[in-house]
């Protein structure tokens, strides 16, 4: 009786609901790609065209030529990779220091780093800009990378993960005469792979998404990132929707690939961001 009831509930409530939710989740992706292949005359045709007909193959090529998108794409890739590696290296080093060593001031340092974790860039953007300006870093890669090369979240995540690694492993290596740096690199780091993967994917996504900071410190075209390029393309005169959707689709593609190939780490990074322990 109960079983039958819940089975009908599944067929008539749960699955239609799941289909609806999936539709809402996927619609903007589908619409972006579909419309990048529509001709501009058919863009707002009534009734709406759900499948592009005829197919317009030119949007991607034309958009890519309209602005230096190759450069923007490479800039974003370079910056995101640099920030990700910085976070993995410095975050794990700092996390290692905070979890496996005892020294004066450790608790205070941890609190200091933790307290900046939730500090939004939107609060500090004015002074941060002034500091970076003092360094002479507006319109440089340094200005785009160095302020974000490590972050409280990465340190926190690595510290929590490293705490679960038994001290005996490290002690044994010390007795064998391994240097501290070697212990970190050859014993501790390989054990952290899941945490590093989660942090790496999480950081890469955030760096790929970065918008407000490049907007503030970049004015030179050769340093524009993909998000800046896309928003500029949108506001520039004469841009057509098919081309804009084409550029948007290319800007999304690396994230979609990242999600499909590293799904576990992608999800883990997010669930860790909400973990209290």
């Amino acid at each position: 009786m109960m079983r039958g009831h819940s089975r009908y509930g599944r067929i008539f409530v749960t699955y239609p609901l799941l289909v609806l939710i999936s539709f809402i989740g996927l619609l903007p992706f589908y619409w972006m790609v579909a419309c990048s292949f529509k001709t501009n005359e058919n863009m707002f045709l009534m009734p709406l065209q759900w499948f592009p007909n005829p197919i317009n193959w030119n949007a991607y090529g034309d958009a890519w030529k309209a602005q230096d998108f190759t450069r923007y794409f490479l800039n974003t890739t370079f910056i995101a990779v640099a920030i990700t590696f910085g976070n993995l290296l410095l975050g794990s080093l700092a996390g290692y220091s905070l979890s496996k060593f005892r020294y004066f001031g450790r608790g205070v340092l941890f609190l200091l780093i933790l307290s900046t974790m939730m500090l939004p860039l939107e609060v500090t953007m004015v002074p941060l800009f002034l500091i970076v300006k003092k360094f002479g870093w507006p319109n440089t890669y340094e200005g785009l990378i160095v302020p974000f090369v490590v972050d409280g979240f990465g340190v926190f995540l690595m510290r929590q993960y490293l705490k679960s690694i038994p001290n005996e492993l490290i002690e044994a290596a010390r007795i064998d005469g391994a240097s501290e740096l070697r212990i970190y690199w050859q014993i501790v780091m390989p054990l952290c792979k899941p945490a590093l993967a989660a942090l790496g994917v999480f950081t890469f996504r955030e760096a790929w998404d970065m918008y407000i900071w490049p907007l503030i410190i970049v004015t030179k075209d050769s340093l524009r990132t993909l998000p800046l390029g896309i928003s500029l393309f949108m506001s520039s005169f004469g841009t057509s929707w098919d081309q804009l959707m084409a550029v948007a689709a290319i800007g999304t593609l690396p994230m979609v690939l990242l999600f499909f190939f590293l799904q576990r780490s992608f999800i883990q990074g997010i669930s860790i961001s909400g973990l209290k322990n």
Binding site: P120, L130, E180, S231
Partner: protein, 305 residues
């Protein structure tokens, strides 16, 4: 072995051990130093400097002049600032509350046995994958008067809505996108929380004949409380930071309807070059964020013990 030799070797060993301890501490300091430098220079210092600049008038050209609390007094009398604070408030309330409910509901749904679970879960998760700027561009297109959103509404007999061109609708358009993108993110966090609840509680409840609603009400909700609080705090802070979507979609308009605080700070600083004024606004935003951060650190430390 003589007694004196044994004490000598013991003190030598002690010295050696001390030396090792000092070496290890030195190593520990050395490897945290780069992180500390970045955090102090690019996070902590700017935070302190924000307060300093907020007491000055500064346009990037002439040297800053001290004007005391003038910026703050001007701000609370500035209708544009009050409007902006109000917009941020509305955005936070109406984008966060639905997200909490929807994210939890979806997490409960995906925590059950479902066929083709991976497909549905991935599809639901996709909004998180879309970059913020792309999000803004694509939704601007979808919110077009003759766009796909109005087309779908027309299936239900709803007249076309002038989403981004009307000061009445623009903020709701932005809020809907916020909900669309944030819900799956917090669903993942809720799912992690749900999976940490031991199955035996539910088994015991089932033996006692508790209905699924009662199980949810008396087992899931209480045990999920820490996760729920965390999601609440995180989502509010993230919502207070919203920037790219309103800037790209509406530029803060029409009629200031979507000018959230971060957007107003950005415009004041980098379009009107009133650094002091912008810093004073940051202090207000900081106060709002701080209330929630303190809340969160307390949560953290409670878990830490």
């Amino acid at each position: 072995m003589s007694a004196s030799g044994s004490t000598q070797s013991r003190s030598l060993r002690k010295l050696f051990r001390l030396n090792i301890a000092a070496k290890q501490a030195l190593f520990a300091y050395a490897i945290i130093l780069p992180t500390l430098a970045v955090i102090v220079i690019f996070r902590f210092l700017p935070m302190l400097q924000a307060f300093y600049i907020s007491l000055h008038e500064y346009d990037l050209i002439r040297p800053p002049t001290f004007i005391g609390f003038r910026n703050f007094i001007d701000l609370v009398q500035d209708p544009l600032f009050l409007q902006s604070a109000w917009v941020s408030f509305i955005y936070v309330v109406f984008s966060c509350v639905p997200v909490w409910v929807l994210a939890l509901a979806l997490a409960v749904l995906f925590n059950r046995e479902i066929r083709a679970k991976n497909f549905f879960r991935s599809a639901t998760f996709m909004p998180v994958v879309m970059p913020a700027v792309v999000n803004a561009v694509v939704w601007t297109f979808m919110y077009h008067q003759d766009g796909v959103v109005n087309t779908i509404l027309a299936w239900f007999g709803i007249d076309p809505i002038p989403w981004l061109r009307s000061s009445k609708w623009a903020l709701w358009a932005v809020i809907l996108i916020g909900i669309w993108r944030a819900t799956p993110y917090y669903m993942v966090i809720f799912l992690a929380g749900l999976q940490a609840i031991p199955q035996r509680y539910y088994e015991a409840a089932q033996i006692d004949g508790a209905s699924s609603w009662n199980q949810f009400r008396h087992i899931t909700l209480p045990l999920l409380k820490p996760t729920t609080l965390l999601v609440m705090v995180m989502s509010v802070i993230v919502a207070l930071k919203v920037f790219a979507v309103p800037l790209i979609m509406t530029g803060g308009g029409p009629a200031d309807a979507t000018r959230v605080l971060p957007l107003f700070i950005y415009q004041t600083a980098f379009e009107f070059f009133k650094m002091g004024r912008a810093a004073a606004m940051s202090v207000f935003l900081f106060a709002a964020v701080m209330i929630f951060t303190i809340f969160q650190i307390r949560l953290f430390s409670r878990g830490e013990d």
